[in-house]
Symmetry: C2
Subunit: 102 residues, 2 copies
């Protein structure tokens, strides 16, 4: 059962994400990050990996892509704000992006 992050756990869960470049979206309980890759093939390749995890976890990002840049916003529509699923997806995105840089 997915629940909105509680005030108690919020800091602990979000702090490492803020440290890796995630930010709060103004006016929404959501986080965002811009990923920049070497080119379109790297960018869309990363999106494809993320897409499979998103479908597997039934948790889909809001994202846009222009050539090598991907802007991502994560929130959990079902709970009207951030949940543990968003943190899990953010970590997966970071981890897949690190691999793309190798």
């Amino acid at each position: 059962m997915t629940e909105k992050l509680s005030e108690e756990t919020r800091g602990t869960v979000l702090k490492p994400l803020f440290d890796s470049g995630w930010e709060m979206v103004e006016g929404r309980d959501a986080i965002k990050k811009t990923f920049v890759f070497a080119d379109f093939v790297e960018a869309f390749g990363w999106m494809t990996q993320v897409a499979i995890w998103a479908e597997k976890w039934n948790h889909h990002p809001e994202w846009d892509n222009v050539y090598k840049t991907v802007n991502v916003t994560l929130t959990t529509h079902d709970v009207g704000g951030l949940s543990a699923l968003d943190a899990k997806m953010a970590r997966k995105m970071d981890s897949l992006a690190e691999r793309a840089e190798d």
Copy 2:
């Protein structure tokens, strides 16, 4: 060599696209369309097909995706406006989306 659509050819090239749901973007020499699919798998599957053509033609869309919806904007940055490549890509997107509906 890609060139900006001339005033003479513009109407002929763009008319069929407007008929299939493409619109001019306000304030830009660009066209846009919203594609809605059955679900995320259909939407991202279509994006993946488009991505391969985009890379093959070296002509990449600006696009965003939220679950089953994809918003696309096409323009040719090199010429500062619409070129024949945008029309070609728009037709390819329409044709791939029709197949997704089968």
